[in-house]
Symmetry: C2
């Protein structure tokens, strides 16, 4: 049966922390829903790469691919590099993704984290915790 694919893209890093964040977040997302077949990949310094995982996605029986950048805000990777890897036209959040069996399915491109009250709460929580822990 057809399923929706979800590709979570992280920045990647020579240190382990960004990869741990992306992998753990993908696992948590997988625990929250059965709606998506979830995979992750990285722009630089960590593996798997975006092209590697896009090719793995082509082998799946998908009806749709949603690509979600796990970045704080729009920057060069989110605005230019990822759309280019997806073959999206400039400024477009929708394109076509070719499966290995020749079918063409829609690919949609989601927003990064962005401005969100949850982020403000989390930053205050981290400040409070640092004072409680280190003072």
């Amino acid at each position: 049966m057809n399923k929706k694919g979800l590709l979570l893209i992280g920045h990647g890093s020579r240190l382990q922390y960004n990869k741990e964040l992306i992998v753990s977040t993908a696992e948590m997302m997988d625990g929250l829903t059965d709606k998506y077949l979830i995979k992750y990949c990285f722009m630089e310094n960590s593996v798997p790469t975006v092209p590697e995982v896009l090719d793995a996605m082509r082998e799946e029986d998908l009806e749709l691919l949603a690509v979600v950048p796990l970045f704080l805000a729009k920057g060069i990777h989110v605005l230019r590099d990822i759309p280019s890897l997806l073959g999206l036209e400039s400024g477009s959040c929708r394109g076509v993704f070719k499966l290995a069996d020749g079918r063409e399915i829609p690919v949609v491109y989601a927003e990064p984290i962005g401005i969100d009250p949850l982020l403000a709460e989390l930053m205050l929580k981290n400040a409070d915790r640092a004072i409680a822990t280190h003072l």
Copy 2:
């Protein structure tokens, strides 16, 4: 009366989005609590810089300074560059901050966003929204 200072540090960017995120988050934090005197600054490409805002904080009547990195995960900026700017010893999350009047107050260094179930929910929400909007 003495107050706690909170310095929110963002990455900065040649594009406007990272700065908008940091400024809006600082404003939301300010709306959530009166406990902190909140200022923001950037590591690169955006202003004000960290040294500029640390100097502005020295002029305030503070009892404590909490420094919060608005970064997704630990990387070079969070692990090395910000501690160096704060004069923290390697691996330490507590140091001393000198006010302009000569007093020395504690500075504590908080965690970045890190692995959090809220982040997994947010990424799924962004995927759902992209499908609803662009399909």
